[in-house]
Structure formats: C-alpha cells, structure tokens
Symmetry: C2
C-alpha cells in the first residue's frame, strides 16, 4: 500500500448557518481545501454525513456535492457511521489513495442541523442508537450519556463538579479559534449552576448541535511536497465497532470499540500514548472525554476525570485535548465533527494553530465516536 498524506485542509465556521444550505457548506470547505492543496480537480469524493435524509430530506450527497462543486463525473459517495461519519470518510479516502486507485481524493464531513425543530433533531440523533431496543423506549442520546456519567461517578467516587475542567478547557481553547461556535470563557461557577439536561448532565457538559463542513485533500506522500510545504502524513486511520446498544456491553464504562480502534491505530503507526503530542477526542459530553482518555491509554480506569482535575489536558499539559475548542465549544455538527478533528490536528502539526499552538507538535491523534461507542475511528497524523 502507498503512504498517504493530507495536502490540503478547509473548514467553514461552525454555527447556525441559516443562510446556507448543505451543498454550499460542503462546497466552501471543499473549495478551501482544494485552494490550500493547489489542486483544481480531485479523482473522488467521500462525504461523511449522518442526518441529511432525516433533517433536510436529501440523500445522495456524493453526487449532490460533486455536481455543485463542478466535479461532475467523478466517483462520489456518502459514508455513514452516526456521529463517527466524518472520520469514516477519511478511512475510505485513505483506502482509495493507499490502494493506488486514485491520486487525489477529497474527504468531507458535513452536517446541517439547526434549521429543524429541536425535537426532530433529537429524534434524528437517536437513530445512532438501537432503534428497536433503545430509541423506541424513549432513550435519547443525552440520557444514554447521563446513565454512563451517573454510573462513573458512583463507581469511581467523583462528584459532578469534577467534570468541569473538560468544559472549561474546551471553551478556553475555543476563544482563539475563529471557526468556533462558542468562543468564550466559562467559569466553574457557571458550570455548577448550568441548567440540567438529563441529570447529572447539564448544559455545560453538553456539546451543541450545529451546521458546518470540513475537508481534507489526500494524495500519495511521494508527491505531497509538490503541492504543499507542510504535508501531514496519515500514519493510521482505524475503525472498530462495539455493541450498538449500551445494555449489551459487558462493562458500560469501558469503551471497548475505542480501545480496539486505538490499539489498531497505535500498531499501524508503530507508536504508543507517550508519543502523542495532542489528542482531539470526542467530547460530545464530558463523560465521553473521560472514557475516551481511558480507552486510548492516557489514563487508568476511573482516572480520566483526574487528568482534567489535574489540568493535564490543557495546551501545556501532559496530553492536550480539544485544542481548538472540541465538540463542546467549537461545536458538534455530528457527521462533520470527525473531519473537524482531523483538520484541527493537521493545523497543529502544520504549526498553524496560532495562540493555541501545542509546542513542537509532531504526532497528533483524533478519535471520533459514533453512538455511545459503537463505532470508533482513531486517526494518527504526523508532521513530516
């Protein structure tokens, strides 16, 4: 297989884009990435998206976006793995270039969520869970995470406020991200007093739904420097699955899919947790940050929250996370999120993260989680 690098990145601001449709958002990210890569054409296009059918009555996004972007004729497909769709599109693009099938591939994540009523969006998001055994009985995504958080607090002896620094850290980093949805600081007191959503989860444990699109252009590493001074090598992109329903897990507090996915990625890249300079994790809710840190080997079981308490997750800490605001403060356009994470890791490795630059960042990791951990995509990128 050929070695693969990212030669261009692009993203739209994350937010409520009431003036822009799904195709325009996708196009803006794609056009920015193609300009960045200095390519005028790509051979194929893979679109990560979860809810275009449910929320905008539009499937067939591959052809839609290829057509709208003036790329009519090329291979173009939509890839879906719930909230893990964005990074799943990278996985397919990676195979297309690694195999030798194509030289230039665009991988887009796009989602348009804010035009709908909240109840429609909540119902849509629940399609990531088991429709017949979870959603049918009224479980929503936030309530699944509330069950996990309550159990974690009980098992490991944490109180609610111990999770605060995940949110505070994310908002602090979002301040310097021009594409973030909520670029403002929050305080411990605000966190403690935030409105409950599904106890013990409150508003500031939760990432916001949003509209947005992000894109990378892939090419063989052997020719990457013809297009950019700052290629970012894809050392690994690995997918693993777990039970769809939370109640089928042997241990609900252990994200086995995340652990397998991370181990596959570490093995493929020949690195371990100590080599990772920053980690864009899937902080849809604060509890997911803790579980992801543990599954990826950055903390022992029950100690993920302690990493936040000790402030080891900040830009200068042992393992910087959510360095551009994360899902919490950059925003969480579900099917696009995985691609935002990858673009942000690439920004760090290119030394273009501005005030949030992680010093000497050489290897970065992103972990994109679908559902309550049923699909996990782990990507390891390297500055070369």
């Amino acid at each position: 297989m050929r070695d693969v690098s990212i030669i261009g990145i692009g993203q739209t601001p994350v937010g409520e884009h009431w003036d822009k449709g799904l195709r325009l958002l996708a196009y803006e990210a794609l056009a920015a990435a193609m300009r960045d890569a200095q390519v005028e054409r790509v051979d194929a296009l893979y679109v990560g998206n979860m809810l275009s059918g449910e929320l905008t009555a539009q499937e067939h996004l591959g052809a839609l976006i290829a057509d709208f972007a003036g790329l009519r004729g090329i291979e173009a497909l939509k890839i879906e793995a719930a909230c893990g769709s964005g990074a799943a599109a990278l996985r397919i693009g990676y195979m297309a270039v690694a195999s030798g099938m194509y030289d230039f591939v665009a991988c887009i994540g796009v989602e348009k969520m804010t035009d709908q009523q909240g109840s429609t969006t909540t119902t849509g998001l629940a399609t990531a869970a088991d429709a017949e055994y979870e959603a049918l009985h009224g479980v929503s995504f936030v309530s699944i995470n509330a069950l996990l958080m309550r159990r974690y607090m009980h098992e490991h002896g944490y109180k609610k406020e111990d999770f605060a620094n995940f949110a505070i850290n994310a908002h602090r980093n979002a301040v310097n991200n021009p594409n973030a949805m909520f670029p403002h600081l929050i305080t411990l007191q605000q966190f403690a007093e935030a409105k409950p959503i599904a106890d013990p989860i409150n508003l500031l444990d939760s990432s916001p739904i949003a509209d947005g699109a992000a894109c990378v252009i892939l090419a063989p590493t052997s020719i990457a420097r013809e297009f950019t001074d700052k290629p970012v090598r894809v050392r690994a992109v690995a997918i693993a699955t777990d039970t769809l329903a939370l109640h089928d897990r042997r241990d609900p507090l252990y994200l086995e899919g995340a652990a397998i996915s991370t181990q596959k990625a570490y093995a493929a890249a020949g690195v371990g947790p100590a080599d990772i300079d920053l980690f864009e994790l899937h902080d849809a809710f604060t509890i997911m940050s803790a579980l992801s840190l543990e599954a990826a080997g950055f903390a022992r079981r029950g100690r993920g929250v302690a990493l936040a308490l000790d402030n080891e997750i900040s830009l200068g800490g042992r393992i910087p996370i959510t360095t551009m605001g994360g899902l919490k403060a950059r925003g969480h356009p579900v099917g696009a999120t995985g691609m935002y994470q990858i673009v942000e890791v690439a920004l760090q490795l290119r030394g273009e993260a501005g005030a949030n630059q992680v010093r000497d960042a050489r290897i970065g990791m992103a972990q994109n989680i679908g559902g309550s951990g049923a699909t996990v995509v782990t990507t390891i990128l390297e500055r070369i």
Copy 2:
C-alpha cells in the same frame, strides 16, 4: 493492487417481510454468503442502504449488523448513493481487498420499505433527487421517469406498448427465481391495460418497493479456490456521477453518468459490449432499461426499445437482461438492489441459474443507478 474475487453469495427472498426487521434480513443474507464461502469470520463489513434512517429510524447500520451477526469489533460502515447504494458497497469492499487492507470482506445491500405508509416511502425515495430544486416542488421519482419516457417516445417515435417487452421479459424470468417478489407471467394486454401511475408510466412499467438483503464475500483471487470451486472474479467496479437534477443535464435522454461508468469498467476489465454475456440493468422503470442499454453501448441512441421489440433481451437473445426478474419482477428494495444484481450475475457465472441459465456465460455485467442517473455503478464479473 490485488486481484479480487467473490467467494460467497447470499440473498433473502424479496417481498414484504413484515415479520423480519432490517438487522435480521441483513443477517440472513450475510450468514448465507458466509456459509457459501465457508468462512466463519470477515475482516470488515460494508452495508449499502438508502432509507434506514427515514423509514425505520435507524442509522449506524454498520455497527448494528456487525453486532447482530456476532462480528463485534470489526470495521463496519454504511455506504449511501441512493438507489445505487448496493453496488457502491461492493466498490468499497473491492478497494479494501484490492489494497491489501483486508483479506475477507462482506458487502451487503439491505432495505426495509414495506412497513411504512406509501406516502412516507415516496417522500423517502425523493431524497435521491434534488431536495431543493426537484422534490420541494412536488416531483416524485416516478414523475421524473415519466418525463423521460414521454420525451423518449416523442424524440424517437415509439408508442407506449413498445416498452412492454421489458416488463414481460422480466416477469418471464422471475418465474424461475425462488427469491422473486412477482414470479408470474404478464401479457401484452395486461401491460396495455395496467393502471396509470404517472402518465405514460403505468403499474407494469414500474418496479415494486420491497424488503430484502443480498450479500457477497470478497477475497483475494490468489486464495479464492481454497474457499470455493467457483470463484467469480471482479474484473471491474466503476462509479461515475452526473448532475443530481434532471433539468441540469445537457441531454436528459443520455445517461452520461452511465456512459462514463461503463467506459471506466470496460477499460479496467479490457472488454467491450460484445464480450458481455448477460447484463443485469437497473429497470426501475421500463424507460431506464432503454437508456441503460444505450449508455452501455448495447444499442444506438433511440434503439434501446428496439432491442426489446426484437426480443434480443431474452435469455437466448443477443444481450440477455434482467435474467432473474430484474427490479421489475424480482423486486426493488432500493439500497439492496445493486447487490441483488451482483449476486444474480454471480449465479449465472457459477452456472447456478437453473432454468434461466444463460448458456456458456463467462462475463456478466451489472449496472446499478442512483436517482435519475446521478450515480451509476457498473460491475463486470468473470467466471474463472
């Protein structure tokens, strides 16, 4: 890239499976294919599906089916390209094996449509069209095809009954397919008197919505004979796109996406139309059969219908089509259809098509069309 072969095939009957959910249908096809291939495990699973979110409130089919099938942990994703989703899943599986990433990959097409009210299904199917420029204005899929058929009749001087043999031939072949939804003969008189749906399209021009699942297991050709006496080599699987909206086409009667996709497939396989022993085409409506035959090089422009009139499309004809009943009479579970076509071509090449066996079939082709031609997947298979 490695050479890839189909080492196992499986399918469920097509019909109204009110007693079976989506995951069970998918599992039955997968289990049959794995038994056929004599493998107990696959490395990855790609699921072609269009409407699970809209019709059964279930996304995240990759993890769902992997979990239900006892394959928890493996890479599993859903691939969507409207009615072209089934064959699109083959394309991704093909890349995964050709690249060397995986040795054993399952590609499934599955759709569950008949539990819903007809209006919900019609709205769902319209998500294959342009939501903002077609569907919003009331265009349904059958009305788009009616526009095409009316224009074709006008341009090329055919009358409505000239299309009859596409449907009669399909039903004749379905009689011997135990998995067909409508395995009974129809007459020219029945065709002429069938209820209008969207003039000039009537009920017997139209394929039925349905539930069903089909599956193939892929492996490197180099080891295929360890698992089956009848490997079927994937000579090509090629995807091309066209404008999403019909009104954006330079010539609405020319399926440019189909032409590009077919040319790519012919080039990759090193064959031409004269080498193809049978052609499973996308007869969602009779007009699509004519346009597909023309785009794929089996008839000149305006002469696709003449092929049917001359009965060159029957099992003993110049180019046998819809040999197991096609979308018309086998049934059209949209996201599964492309995989049914591939399984049926494989059956023919393995010499297992029973009374419908095309004599000495060595090379077969399938063409799976998404929307009104916006995504086209052309697959060429060979008996080895």
